[in-house]
């Protein structure tokens, strides 16, 4: 089943085209990495899929159907710098994760034991159960990012969309987060779409690489891309042109 199917999608900001004729499909169980230079429209593409922006050009089908409204429960979203903003907010990890159970709890209703259990399970999945009562401001950047991941996972999403989840996070935390995502993708079948500039580390885990460049989207052969990357590390100067082509990796 196609989790996301994008057909001939185009988008402009104030008459300035960002991209056009973008088409791709994400199947259940895919681990898709979206790369591209800054300003290429990666976050805009995510916002269109999430329904935050609308475009008159093209079609987006989610979970095999374009007629029903966006399935909010079925998509978990981790925004760019989501963990770094509001670091001084007086809230515990548990309270933050619980907030995303809004639809399950219901408008004007209060959380029950089953909801607290879901929060605990979600924190366990990301290895943060021991931090449930801690304040978000007391955690490191990597730990906060895991909390935000737990918040995205608590509603049992079929699709997880992550917008540069590793920005501002140290290398060990980055690797541990990618391993965690890979495990969830492999064992729990959660489809992952991730925007990242950290191509060196993610390629080991990703199944597909989509690249937005010069207003259009191309799918890159993963093996060819890895070769090009390793060539870059051996010959940084000669590979500058390649780096320009695929964004800042």
């Amino acid at each position: 089943m196609c989790v996301v199917r994008v057909e001939n999608l185009g988008f402009s900001y104030g008459g300035e085209p960002v991209f056009s004729q973008v088409s791709f499909a994400v199947r259940k169980g895919d681990f898709v990495v979206v790369i591209g230079a800054n300003g290429a429209g990666k976050s805009t593409l995510f916002r269109l899929i999430l329904g935050e922006l609308a475009s008159p050009k093209g079609k987006i089908r989610l979970f095999g159907d374009d007629s029903r409204p966006r399935e909010r429960r079925a998509i978990g979203y981790l925004p760019q710098n989501g963990s770094l903003a509001n670091g001084d907010f007086p809230a515990t990890v548990e309270e933050i994760v619980m907030s995303n159970l809004f639809l399950q709890i219901g408008f004007l209703r209060f959380p029950k034991k089953e909801h607290r259990e879901k929060v605990r399970e979600s924190l366990e999945r990301v290895g943060m159960a021991a931090f449930a009562k801690r304040l978000i401001g007391d955690l490191s950047g990597g730990q906060r990012q895991r909390v935000m991941l737990a918040r995205a996972l608590v509603s049992d999403p079929e699709l997880l969309m992550l917008d540069e989840p590793t920005s501002g996070v140290d290398l060990p935390s980055i690797v541990s987060m990618f391993e965690l995502l890979s495990r969830m993708n492999g064992t729990q079948g959660i489809t992952v779409m991730m925007i990242t500039h950290d191509v060196d580390n993610i390629l080991e885990y990703a199944s597909r690489v989509l690249c937005l460049e010069k207003g259009s989207l191309v799918e890159l052969e993963k093996t060819q891309f890895i070769e090009e990357l390793s060539h870059k590390h051996k010959h940084p100067a000669r590979s500058r042109e390649g780096a320009k082509r695929h964004g800042s990796f």
């Binding site: 999430l50 998509i75 933050i96 809004f102 918040r151």
Partner: protein
């Protein structure tokens, strides 16, 4: 205690303590949404409403309520159009309210009555005003409890709340009206120049204790209740203005907490 022998002091305590419960509930969300100046803008717009009420022969608190709600919705509308510059919305409403209050105050015959709204008059409450405060306080408390998780989510991350399906626009509008109503009834008691401090200082004290959101709300209410009770007590025996005394006690407590934190390094 001798001060409870007087009917006006018993009323002052009931009204003061009810307000001490609802003002910080609103204040927590206002502070965390980084809209602390909204209290100032609304209290000044309530002053314009008070002046309009006195000029037209309508109950000034009702006048304050109407102008506060209009001003609050105006701020929310401008904030939506310029989300990056929400302080502009507050500045526009604040200056236009002061302008309107200034112009209308020239037509108010009983200047003493108008001036009593500047610093509040917690001990001179009519039966109607007393009933109004009690009803509004319970309505605000109920709304805050029912919207507790929605307000938390929006204050923490408005965008994520919208994506999760929270009716952000509706909740923000309800909260805006609650804020406006609270400010308008509080301006009669603690005064328009002080109400925003009552909204911010107990929350600032509670935030120094570094607790969860739930505890921050509870601590804010406890601080506000303590400041109000102590303020009324001190003002009765020292013959001071109650509104100003309550706020000054709050500021003194905040300074004490900040100093203690620095000394004890917690």
């Amino acid at each position: 205690m001798a001060l409870f022998e007087y009917e006006f002091m018993r009323r002052a305590f009931i009204v003061g303590l009810l307000l001490a419960v609802i003002i910080p509930c609103i204040g927590v969300v206002v502070v965390l949404k980084r809209l602390t100046m909204i209290g100032d803008a609304l209290s000044h717009s309530s002053l314009a409403g008070v002046a309009a009420g006195l000029v037209m022969g309508v109950n000034p608190i009702l006048g304050a309520g109407v102008t506060c709600v209009v001003a609050a919705l105006g701020i929310e509308t401008i904030r939506k159009k310029m989300p990056q510059y929400s302080d502009i919305a507050i500045a526009v409403v604040l200056s236009s309210s002061i302008g309107m209050a200034g112009v209308l105050s020239g037509f108010v015959k009983n200047a003493a009555n108008f001036n009593s709204f500047l610093f509040g008059s917690i001990v001179a409450f009519s039966d109607f005003e007393m009933t109004l405060v009690v009803c509004v306080s319970f309505a605000v408390m109920l709304a805050f409890v029912l919207l507790y998780k929605e307000l938390f989510f929006i204050a923490f991350d408005e965008r994520a709340a919208r994506l999760a399906g929270v009716p952000v626009g509706m909740v923000n509008n309800i909260f805006t009206v609650l804020t406006a109503i609270t400010v308008s009834i509080a301006s009669r008691t603690v005064g328009v120049l002080i109400v925003s401090s009552m909204m911010v200082i107990p929350v600032a004290c509670a935030m120094q204790l570094r607790a969860s959101y739930k505890r921050t709300v509870i601590y804010s209410v406890c601080f506000a209740v303590a400041f109000t009770a102590a303020g009324l007590y001190v003002s009765y025996y020292a013959r001071l203005k109650p509104g100003g005394t309550i706020v000054l006690l709050g500021v003194a407590c905040l300074i004490l907490i900040l100093s203690a934190k620095k000394l004890l390094k917690f």
